[in-house]
């Protein structure tokens, strides 16, 4: 009984790491650009396919992760420069546009790869698991958690200790004043969007071997959970995203073990419950870190 609990908890936390990578980008982008990027799941699925195919072709795991990051960043850059600049300040247009891009990116994947799941294998160095006291510990899960923790650390460092981070935090609070300080805020929009998009691609690249297979619709599923995560944690807050992703990751893991079809419903209920008590989400607005 206890062993099931710990096995599920570990699985839940590694799930959380993936959600966090998605939520962190979403929340940073929202904090600064005031855009809820529904296309984030599309970057995720492209990251997953890019990484999986690079890995099956070259058997270079690190390179495949880099491919996910690159494709995410590149698509994000194109999306921000090419489309989003036209609709800043218009929430409805942003919603329609980013939703459309999510659907488009998911559909485009089907053209070369079809709808069927594609196998994504774990590289040999990470292909281990241990059973200690009936608790199953999977090496790749630990690796995923480690990656999530690393990215959290890097983001906190970036935001708190660097000049770019200082400017981002300032921009979240008062954009027009940042401009008055001689800083081009639009360039910062691009940087933050690209960063968030690269993280989504990275999450996709990590997710393939984690799930064992990838499908074109995985982006949509991920988008839903990532969206719930950021709303739950508080839009615009990085700590909120961390806590939110842990809650959603663990809930998903436990609920899908006992009643698989209720996992998404449970997450939506959790979000609704939190929003009833705290409409601004767990960490509310104002402080990005």
């Amino acid at each position: 009984m206890m062993s099931t609990f710990f096995t599920l908890a570990l699985d839940g936390i590694s799930n959380s790491a993936l959600y966090f990578l998605m939520a962190a980008g979403l929340t940073l982008i929202f904090g600064l650009l005031r855009v809820i990027n529904f296309a984030h799941g599309g970057l995720f699925v492209w990251g997953a396919y890019a990484a999986t195919f690079l890995y099956s072709a070259m058997h270079q795991f690190w390179l495949s992760l880099c491919a996910g990051i690159l494709i995410g960043g590149l698509l994000g850059w194109l999306l921000e420069r090419g489309l989003l600049t036209a609709v800043y300040g218009d929430g409805n247009q942003q919603l329609l546009l980013t939703m459309g891009v999510l659907i488009l990116l998911s559909e485009l994947i089907e053209i070369p790869f079809g709808r069927d799941p594609v196998l994504a294998t774990v590289p040999p160095i990470l292909h281990h698991s241990w059973v200690i006291d009936h608790v199953t510990i999977v090496a790749y899960s630990l690796f995923t958690i480690g990656m999530g923790a690393c990215i959290f650390g890097i983001l906190v460092y970036l935001l708190q200790k660097t000049r770019v981070g200082l400017i981002i935090r300032a921009g979240v609070n008062n954009q027009s004043l940042v401009e008055a300080r001689g800083i081009p805020i639009r360039r910062l929009f691009t940087i933050v969007f690209l960063l968030g998009a690269a993280l989504a691609g990275f999450a996709g690249a990590l997710a393939g071997p984690y799930y064992g297979s990838i499908t074109p619709s995985m982006g949509m599923d991920m988008q839903l959970n990532a969206f719930i995560t950021v709303v739950l944690g508080g839009l615009g807050s990085l700590s909120g995203s961390l806590i939110g992703s842990l809650l959603i990751g663990l809930t998903t893991s436990f609920v899908s073990y006992y009643t698989p079809s209720f996992a998404v419903l449970a997450n939506v209920l959790l979000m609704t419950l939190v929003l009833l008590v705290r409409p601004q989400g767990l960490f509310g607005e104002g402080e990005i870190v």
């Binding site: 000049r163 935090r169 027009s176 004043l177 402080e287």
Partner: protein
Amino acid sequence: MKALLEVENLHTKIGQFSILQGVSLSVCEHTIHVLLGRNGAGKTTTLRTMMGYLRPVPGIIRFEDQELTGIATFRIARYGIGYMPEDHNLFANLTVEENLLLSLPKQDTHVRSQIAKMLDLFPDLRVAWRRPAGTLSGGQRQMLALASVLVSKPRLLLVDEPSKGLSPRFVERIGDALEQLRSETTIVLVEQNFYLAKRIGDYVTVLDEGHTVYSGEMQSFAASDELQKRYLGLQTDKKGGAK
């Protein structure tokens, strides 16, 4: 004397409303030029237009020999124009230190001495050094807002109602600070407190309903009850402490 800033015939629309309909002023180097006018006269809009947040059609803004019309706000700031807005003039989530650091380009080698100078000018900021700006008192906030514009040594300073909502003690302090700065920079000051305006202003421009209606030396304006009554609708008392 040649003007550092030359503003001619500004017309600015916000949405479909014509807010400015002919604002002109000419600002000489190392002077304090006060913008007066009733609430809603267009003072804030004039400064926002100069900073490039709003685009005048038509209108000319010349800083030295550089035409500023149609240039992005961040570039205007880089020409050496500092702006302290009327509201939201600091980053509430950043500490006092971070607010000041943000104004200094990272390649600036005089960061420490510039910041030390601000702390000498506004000693109140020293005690609040690591506190978020949002937790400061009203007076401290205005001082920080001013300091974080001054710290980058602007050649021209646009200040919008720095004394707003402050107690007389703080109004004096802000006034002293601005007066000290005259030798180093040039200031366009929007000020509702006529007592302060009179004390530190060299020149005055009065706006009404989006037009420049008067421009001249502060000395003669301050000396004439007639002019004040005509342009500001002020009832001056014997001591001259009008409000």
